[in-house]
Amino acid sequence: MSADAITFGYLDDQTKRMIRRALLKAVAIPGYQVPFAGREMPLPYGWGTGGIQVTASIIGRDDVLKVIDQGADDTTNAVSIRRFFRRVTGVAATEKTAEATLIQTRHRIPETPLTTGQILIYQVPIPEPLRSMEPRETETRKMHALADYGVMHVKLYEDIARHGRIATAYDYPVRVNGRHVMAPSPIPKFDNPKMHNAPFLQLFGAGREKRLYAIPPYTSVVSLDFEDHPFEVQRWDRVCDLCGAGDSYLDEVVTDDTGGRLFVCSDSEYCTTRRDAGHRGPAADSTAAGALGATLSAVARDRTEDRA
């Protein structure tokens, strides 16, 4: 076997070709779930095997990769996937959203707006939005084919009847390009509006279920709702305790056993960048915030070494 036959990255040529074909089909039919022959990956299902296969099939030598999990660059899953790609491809990694060309994500769309040319790759646990209402795969496929989506509203109706409002907070169903109803993976509904008419390409990979789907740039993505209960995103009556951002998705961090807690940006890169630029949140000077900030800096130092 000549050196040319050894492919770049982790997957072999045939697998890449198969996944790229499936991706082309997915981009051609926005929101449609394309079956693909998912491969075994060196990590368990549920840890991002679908997203990794998509990333591995489209990554090139000039790409700059960012990996986030729960919005953060420094969680276990993000760190191990980033290390994996550093090792098998040698491409540059970054935590700066603006610098990245490929962003593999789980749970969040970065707060910094993405632009044309960037690709967002989602790790998807359950690609079928109709699954909770209809367990049969044969039937859900037929429902997609016939655009028979009434049951999605039955689910939302049930939410309102039970909780007085649409309580679905993540994986909130959307209709893509006026046709297919799609599960946007477990991102909070806070991020749903960012998918609509987005200038960047969005690819979704579900490893266990072996499905790929996509939203091409500038495609309409409408969250389902009722006329008298319109779609709404989560709001907080406070700002990030560390950086003072009022426009980001906040995580609650318990800091001691006496009720102390901080609300901080879930997008760690966004928060760090704002703090570096001199923004200060209301609790930025507290001991807990100091400790949290120190942890983030320590991880950032690790990342610098990792990159070197």
Binding site: M133, K142, L146, D148, G150, V151, H153, V154, K155, Y157, E158, I160, A161, R162, F226, E227, D228, H229
Partner: protein
């Protein structure tokens, strides 16, 4: 009861047969491989008419109902339906999307076991609201008001609107299923043993309710049952089936009071008198 029967079968209630038939069935047959489901079934059903299909277990009643409603594909024959929206159509030649739409708008199917016809994981209100939502209702308040209205029409306490059907009694589940089927105002309803598995007092109330709704809404219906009392109470006309064939057909009173075929005679004489 006699008075009520007479009221249902009031000649005024049945429109003139000159109108185009709602359902025209010709030479319908269904084989399951070498085994016979039903064969040579032909009849017409006019608007506002209720047809009863009686016969013993295994005589092909449910197979016939499946073929009529498009759930099963017949081996021979055709089923023509005169749709309000699209005019005459061959039910089995319609694309599946159209057939599904029919089932949600102009048709309804009441199953013997309400648990097959209901969505048990969601509330009664969502069950009734499913059909309106499937054809585009998108106003929560209106859907809920309609569900509430139908709960009271089928005599279920409106306070149970947000309860799951799993917590309902068998009779309530069957009434909820009827509300769910009738909410979109169908013209033609298929019922498979609607009172099967219910005790007699609940059966009586359900029959009362059904008779009232059928008369008031001017529904056409095909009711499959093995219970002759149900047939006498609800059906204008009766078809008696045995071994997959129709052995006798006629007005309900005529068939039950003066049965001609030996099997019908046996059937009528087998009814237990309390």
């Amino acid at each position: 009861m006699t008075a009520a029967c007479a009221a249902t079968r009031d000649p005024q209630a049945v429109p003139a047969t000159a109108a185009a038939p709602l359902l025209a069935v010709e030479g319908l047959g269904k084989w399951y491989g070498p085994r016979l489901g039903c064969r040579d079934v032909s009849f017409t059903l006019h608007p506002g008419e209720v047809l009863g299909v009686v016969g013993e277990s295994g005589s092909g009643k449910t197979t016939l109902l499946g073929c009529l409603s498009g759930g099963l594909t017949p081996t021979t024959g055709r089923v023509a339906y005169h749709s309000e929206a699209w005019g005459p159509a061959d039910v089995h030649a319609l694309p599946e999307g159209r057939r599904r739409l029919l089932m949600r708008t102009e048709w309804g199917f009441v199953r013997q076991n309400p648990r097959d016809g209901l969505r048990l994981g969601v509330s009664a209100g969502a069950n009734i609201g499913e059909r309106p939502m499937a054809v585009g209702a998108r106003h929560y308040g209106h859907i809920r008001a309609r569900a509430l209205d139908w709960l009271s029409r089928v005599e279920i306490d409106p306070a149970r609107l947000d309860d799951r059907p799993a917590s309902f009694s068998g009779g309530m589940q069957q009434r909820l299923q009827i509300a769910r089927v009738l909410v979109n105002g169908p013209r033609l309803v298929f019922m498979d043993e609607p009172t099967g598995g219910l005790d007699v007092s609940v059966q009586a109330r359900l029959l009362d309710l059904l008779r009232d709704l059928v008369a008031r809404l001017g529904l056409s219906a095909v009711i499959v049952t093995h219970d002759l009392a149900v047939a006498r109470l609800l059906a204008h006309r009766l078809m008696v089936m045995k071994d997959g064939r129709v052995v006798e057909e006629g007005l309900t009173d005529q068939v039950l009071d003066d049965p001609h075929h030996p099997y019908t005679q046996l059937l009528v004489s087998s009814v237990l008198q309390a």
